[in-house]
Amino acid sequence: MKRFLLSSLFILSFLSHYLQAQEAPKLAEENKKIIKDEFYNNIPMPAVLSDLEKKYSLKLLYDKEALREFSVTHWFENQTIETGLKSILKKLPLKYYIDDNGFVNIVAKTIRVETSVDRQFKGKAEKTNFTLIGRVVDINNGENLPFASVLVRGTTLGGQTNVDGYFTLQKVPSDTVTLEVSYVGYRTRNFHLNPKLDVNDLKIEVEPAVDMLEEVVVEGEKTEVLKANEVVGMIKMTPRNIAKLPNVGERDPFRAFQLMPGVSASNESSSGLYVRGGTPDQTLVLYDGFTVYHVDHLFGFFSAFNYNAIKDIQLYKGGFDAKFGGRISAVAEITGKDGNKKEFNAGVDLSLLSTNAYIETPLGSKFTFLVAARRSYKGPLYNKLFKRFTSENQTQTQQQQGPGGFPGGGRFGSFATTQTASSYFYDLNSKLTYTPTKKDIISLSLYNGTDNMDNSASSNLGNLGGFGGRNIGLNTSNTDVSNWGNLGGSLKWSRRWSDKFYSNSLICYSNYYSTRDNSRTITTNRDGTERELKIGQLEDNNLNDFTAKTDFEWKMFKDNQLDFGLQYTKNVIKYTYSQNDTVSVLDRNDRGATATFYVQDNVKLLDGRLHLLPGVRITNFDVTKKNYIEPRFSANYNITKQLKLKGAAGVYYQFVKQINREDISQGNRNFWILSNAESLPVTKSNHLILGGSYELPNYLFDVEFYQKNSTNITEYTLRFVPKVGRGLSASETFFNGSETVQGVDILIQRKFGDFNGWIGYTLAEAKRNITAFSDKAYYSDQDVRHQFKVIASYKYKRWDLAATWIYSSGRPYTSILGAYQLTLLDGSVKNFTNPSDKNANRFPAYHRMDISATYNFSSHFNIGFSIFNLYNRSNTWYKRFQVITEDDITALQITNVKYLGITPNVTLSWKLR
């Protein structure tokens, strides 16, 4: 797979450029003349242009002063002015365009070209009350932009582009109205319709905000522009926004989401999204339609998503609509890039941690292709992170390596230890998009990401010749190999059947695998006879997800859209956890299928001021043989243009669960299992969200209150069972209970200007009630009372500066109350530690500041410096308790294990276009 993609990458890099012609006004007749033979050698451009104007009476427009600094060396030989200019301007920061009068205009590349649609049409309308179909595309690469907002100015009529970038507006009052087109990270465009335009296939190009943080970073709620985006609890980002935020090694969309209120930022060891008191497995992560089950690279320090391959991400923090299901907390919907439709492009990012490269290109006029790959390398930063996550592990390993039972073993012979630790991660995204007709889009998206960690060691306790001259050898080798990753793909077919009916069908496959072999092989060699003994743990989790789904959109009439769809998912999940070769602690092989139907109605009332979205999702789960009905409802009401109230409520079910077997000393492992009718009931959650927003042209104030009541939350523990000598039944290791989450998210954002950013605050509480752990409610592991985040960015000349500061109350943890010893039947003494009530203690507050500075040499090349944890705050990750017995004194020792300290990074980014 990987090889195939790499080879196709090479082929593609030799492909020439494909330029698609743009709809353009006609060239004046004079400008079509052939210039037979004119040679200019290092002549200032205005002089060249004025010479040509005179000789061929060309119609040119340019600013003499602005062009004075550019010199031209060119030989016009049977060329038109247009052909000549194309080659001249290639090396200059200039471009040309043809205006409505047929004049050739030469301007700086940064200047936006005015065309007829940039001016209000003065004539008479020809069509009224018609249906407008179009798409919103990126002006630079021709990518269709999903979820962009299109609004008829001065009215409440508006819509949103679908996942393929298409939109339909019904009952547009006239063909001379103005459309306001906005998309996060892009300049909002006023697009003036005129009767000459094709209202069945309108292409609206929008331009990326040149300075990445200059424009809207976050699309919260807007009253004026984003009618269709008015979804409770939704945050939207494009990867371009992330580029200049401080980072540790990788530009990471999930880490960027963690800077928003309601998404926890204090879990350095997980890039998963802890959304509003939920855990990462309660967040549905969709990448081009397929579910990604594991989002971590390098022990969770980075998410598995390469920002170079991503076009758009939407995060629903709760109260999401009936289209999404199978998770109880949140949805992150990621849309991958299709690839440049206009020309070949490539780019590379180099950081202290990894190399990240991509290629995108059109293939003919109907195909586009993109491939993006990254791989870590063992630079100083990688090693630092790796050690942070494995040092505990290694210490333990080393202790085990001692020649057990022979204290002072060094005196008995040679003792050699070799340790080989190697580890890396890589991921690869590729997408092939085929547009056979204007109504169909077919795309194949593939993703593969893998982490490999080898922390093995071997030791050799050589010749024990002291004992009667016999030859006795003892070899110990510790294997500690972990592999985890995802392989997924989707084949999607979108079709616009009519101006009212649209469908989107997918076949997806997703596989998550995680294996760990943490074992010790002891080979004893006695006079040539070898005996092998394997002690340790073997773990294997393999999840397969086969999904077929179809979503339909039916615009029944103005202000009413019906969405409905079908989904079928088959899950095959295996999990085995065995010890010492033989004993199988847990061995599960689960199969289950869900069949789902949903329907929801998008209604606008009161002249568009009230937006209602009632819906229902019905799922049949074949394991429990039950139907699960999830009613959903959300609403927005615009009191005034600026002030809006919003709310959502719904029921959510989750059928696959990730169980966190938190065990730092052995490596923190998660595994997925499937619900059943007995010990692992289907998790259910009820959401209620109420909020309001107040939006000024430059500022947004947004408040949302939320409450989630969940039942059948599962925790896994081995603590209550004797695990000796036999396997475990699920009922002995999984404990179910309920959870209540409530809180408020507050966002104050300055959206525009050289200085912009936001302040986010979350006040929240998450409590669990699982009777096996405690007869009273206890705070959930992820419970954090206060989180305060300040994100500021400032543009100064060619510099982009950004700083983030995060403050978070401490997470709860279980401490110990004391320790004791028991004498066992054989006379040996065993130590026991007695934990406090579950999560009855709190770590100190977590806070840190990150800063970054990016210098833009040009729009193609920049260098970014960033410092993580600027003031080197020691944030506690977890505590380790040890009972140490020495000379009959038994004492307890506590160690605070810390998160990452100050960590600088440098990133070089280059792209062809």
Partner: protein, 283 residues
């Protein structure tokens, strides 16, 4: 003016959200007594009670014995033991008061710091058909007290014995937990391996765990002393087997110490045993 509303709103919200919040109590160390009691049929009751080593970040504490409790053990056969505190944390029944036969259930009961500490256990049946394939083995003494100085090899040789194992078998069709312990019964046992001067070997434990199988082996090198031994096969209850589960050591995976004692810690369990005599001879 707007600000005031926002502050008022936030204040109200906060009070609504937190009006009903309860926090988890921290039970102080020392609130739960640690009990150690193995009830064997036809033996008087012997029980130990002591406190935990209290944990604090600043100081190191020690375990204290608990004397003077009034502890009752109530049997399902109608017989109740009232234990006598004999000092140093030990409690005993009268010498003529003996634990009953297999199948009898016993309940522990006493008050400690305002809580009722209780536990229940059953006396398991005696192991069946316990046998070993050998009654004796021979070992050579190894004296390392001279050390390795000057390249002088120590006399003797430890591992040139027959590499034999003592194979133990018993019937266990219902997969009950069994546990092997080996006990030297010499009054003045002689070490097989004499450590170098100034050093001590730690006690070579038999790395046994309770097993649900029907056989086990004791390797000849496991014996530390010459002379007479008892090889004891215990039949134990799951609450004893639970003591062998590994317990976590970090705040992320601490496990509650396995105990069947409510409001207490430690072990209160019935055991039964069969014994085989065994001799380690000196070559």
């Amino acid at each position: 003016m707007k600000n005031i509303y926002i502050i008022l709103l936030l204040g109200t919200i906060q009070s609504i959200l937190w009006a009903c919040t309860e926090t988890n109590d921290v039970i102080n160390p020392g609130d739960k007594p640690v009990i150690e009691a193995y009830l064997a049929p036809n033996h008087p009751v012997s029980l130990k009670a002591y406190t935990e080593i209290p944990y604090s970040e600043s100081s190191e504490g020690v375990s204290q014995v608990i004397d003077g409790l009034s502890i009752k053990i109530i049997g399902s056969n109608g017989k109740t033991f009232v234990l006598k505190s004999v000092g140093n944390g030990a409690y005993e029944s009268a010498a003529n008061e003996l634990i009953g036969v297999a199948g009898t259930t016993y309940s522990l009961e006493f008050d400690y710091k305002g809580r009722k500490v209780t536990a229940t256990t059953e006396i398991p049946a005696k192991p069946v058909n316990f046998a070993s394939d050998k009654k004796e083995i021979s070992r050579t003494q190894i004296d390392l007290s001279a050390g390795f100085q000057g390249g002088v090899r120590p006399p003797g040789g430890g591992f040139n014995e027959q590499n034999t194992s003592v194979n133990l078998t018993w019937s266990n069709p219902n997969n009950y937990y069994h546990f092997i312990a080996v006990e030297n019964v010499e009054t003045d046992p002689v070490q097989i391996l004499i450590p170098p001067t100034g050093r001590t070997f730690p006690n070579f434990r038999f790395f046994n765990e309770p097993l649900t199988g029907s056989s086990n082996e004791v390797r000849s090198q496991s014996f530390q002393y010459f002379g007479k031994h008892n090889i004891i096969l215990y039949r134990v209850n799951p609450e004893y087997a639970a003591l062998y589960q590994s317990s976590g050591t970090t705040s992320q995976n601490l496990s509650t110490p396995p105990t069947s004692i409510i409001n207490g810690l430690g072990i209160f369990t019935g055991i039964n045993a069969d014994t085989i005599k065994f001799v380690v001879n000196k070559n």
